[in-house]
Amino acid sequence: MSWSCSNYLCLSSSSSSSSSLISSHELTRVNSCNLSCEYKEQRRKDPINIVAYNGLKPPSYKLDKPQKRKNHALKKPNNISAYYSLKPPSYKFDALEPYMSKRTLEVHWGEHHRAYVDTLNKYLSKNDVLYGYTMDELLKVTYNNGNPLPEFNVAAQVWNHDFFWESMQPGGGNLPILGLMEQIEKDFGSFANFRQDFIESAMSLFGSGWVWLVLKRNEKRLAIATTTNAVTPLVWDDIPLLSLDMWEHAYYRDYKNDRVKYANVFMDHLVSWNAVLGRMARAQAFVNLGEPKIPVA
C-alpha cells in the first residue's frame, strides 16, 4: 500500500456517518470507531503503514458486519473527536541511505513521531477546549505565552517532525538556488558563513532541541535560531524555513555521539533546498524581502 493510498484511508473514513472533513492539512474529523476498524485492518496488512490511530480500544465486533458498525455509530453520536494524523514522509524509508538509515527512519517516524501523534490525540480527546484548531493555531494557543500547557510539547513535536521530514530529500545537499541563495548571501555574507553558523548553532545546544533557518517577519531577514526540546520558532511568530533535529534519537543509531558529523552530513547530503525555496516563496506572501516597489504613475 502506498503512502498516498494510506492518506486516503484516513480521509475516506470521515465521509461515512455524521463526521466530515473540517479543515486544512492534517486536521480531519473522524468517526472514532470506523477509524479503529480501519486501523485494525490496516495494521494487519502492514504494521508500519498506519496513518491515524485514535488511541481508543478497537471495537470487539467483527469487520464483516458493516450494518452493526453503522448502528453502533448511530447509538453513540457524540463519540467524535478532532484528531491529527501521522503523515508519512514523501520518500521511502531507505531513500536517505546511507546518510540516514532506514532503521533510523522506521524508529524515528514509526515510533517517536507516532507516539507524539497518539499522545496528542489522547490529550485532545480529554480537552475539548482545544478542539478544532489548525495545528499552527494549536501550537500558539498551547504555548500560552511561554507557560506551555501539557499539550504543547507533543503538539509541537508532531509539527516539528512533519516539518523535519519535509526538510530533507533523497539526493539533497548541494547549494541553494535562485533567490534563496541571494537572500542567504545578503543576510549571512556567504553560503559558507551560513553553513558554519548553522552547524555551530547545532553544536551549541546543551541538550535536546532543534536548529532552524527562519525568516524574521519584522526584520525582514533570514536568521538561525535554536530551540530547546519541543519549542518551535512559530511561537515567536518567526517563519521557519528549515529545521535540523538535534535530539539524540535523530542521529544516535547512525552517528552515536558524533553530532558534528551528523550536522555536516545533513548539510552535505540531506537538506532539501527545494523545500526551503518553496517555503520562502510562501513566506514572501507575508514578508516583503525586496525594495518596496512603487508604481510609477
Binding site: 517517536h112 510539547n153 546543551f206 541538550g207 535536546s208 539524540e248 543509531r253 552515536k256 555521539n257
Partner: protein, 228 residues
C-alpha cells in the same frame, strides 16, 4: 602618583599568586568504572555502557577542561564578558562530568549487590518519607519519564531539613542547582544516549529495569555521611 603605584602593587601581588594557583590547578580525567561494561546486562547493554563512559563522559571532561582553561585566560586578562560567557559551557560540561561520576557509582552488577533494597537508616527514611521502597521507585519512574528532552531524576537528601526528596534537573544541570543543601544519593540519567540503543523511545522500560542494577549500598553510605 606614588600612592597609586603602591595601591596597584598591593592589589596585584595577591592577584598574581591566585592566578598561579589556578594555572597549576588540576584538569579532570575520566574516572574508571568499578565493573566491566557488560556487567550490568541485561538491564544496560555493554555497548551503551562503553559509549556512555568512553565517549559521552569523556567529551564532557574534555570540554570542561577546555572551558576552564579559557576561563583562566579570561580572568588573567580581566576579560569579564568572556568569563561570563563561559559559564553556560562550564555548567553544562562540568555538570556532565559531576553527574556521570555519581551515576557510575550508583550502578552495580546484580552479583555485587545491585538492585538490593537499602537497609538501615536509608531504608527506614525511605519508608517514612515515601510510604515504601516501591512507592519511591514508582515516583522516580513517573518523574523521570516526565522529564522533557534530556535530563536527570534524583533521589536526594536535604542536609538541612534532614529529609529525602525526589528532584529532576534539565540537561546536565547538576543537582546543586536545585538547592545548595541537596546531596545526591541516586541519580538516573534519562538522556536518550543512556538507553536509546536498547530501549528506543520507551524510556519507562529503561527506568523500570535500571532498578535491578542500582547500588543502594553506595546511596546508604552517602546518606549516613550527610545525615548522621
Amino acid at each position: 602618583m606614588a600612592l597609586r603605584t603602591l595601591v596597584s602593587r598591593k592589589t596585584l601581588g595577591p592577584w598574581s599568586r591566585f592566578h598561579q594557583q589556578i594555572r597549576g590547578l588540576q584538569t579532570f580525567t575520566l574516572p574508571d568504572l568499578a565493573y566491566d561494561y557488560g556487567a550490568l546486562e541485561p538491564a544496560i547493554s555493554a555497548e551503551i555502557m562503553q559509549l556512555h563512559h568512553q565517549k559521552h563522559h569523556q567529551t564532557y571532561i574534555t570540554n570542561y577542561n577546555k572551558a576552564l582553561e579559557q576561563l583562566d585566560d579570561a580572568i588573567a586578562k580581566g576579560d569579564a564578558s568572556t568569563a561570563v560567557k563561559l559559564q553556560s559551557a562550564i555548567k553544562f560540561n562540568g555538570g556532565g562530568h559531576v553527574n556521570h561520576s555519581i551515576f557510575w557509582k550508583n550502578l552495580a552488577p546484580t552479583s555485587e549487590g545491585g538492585g538490593e533494597a537499602p537497609h538501615g537508616s536509608l531504608g527506614w527514611a525511605i519508608d517514612q518519607h515515601f510510604g515504601s521502597f516501591e512507592k519511591l521507585i514508582a515516583k522516580m519512574n513517573t518523574e523521570g519519564a516526565g522529564v522533557q528532552g534530556s535530563g536527570w531524576v534524583w533521589l536526594a537528601v536535604d542536609k538541612e531539613l534532614k529529609r529525602l526528596v525526589v528532584e529532576t534537573t534539565a540537561n546536565q544541570d547538576p543537582l546543586v542547582t536545585k538547592g545548595a543543601s541537596l546531596a545526591p544519593l541516586v541519580g538516573i540519567d534519562v538522556w536518550e544516549h543512556a538507553y536509546y540503543l536498547q530501549y528506543k523511545n520507551v524510556r519507562p522500560d529503561y527506568l523500570k529495569n535500571i532498578w535491578k542494577v542500582i547500588n543502594w549500598k553506595y546511596a546508604s553510605e552517602i546518606y549516613e555521611k550527610e545525615c548522621p
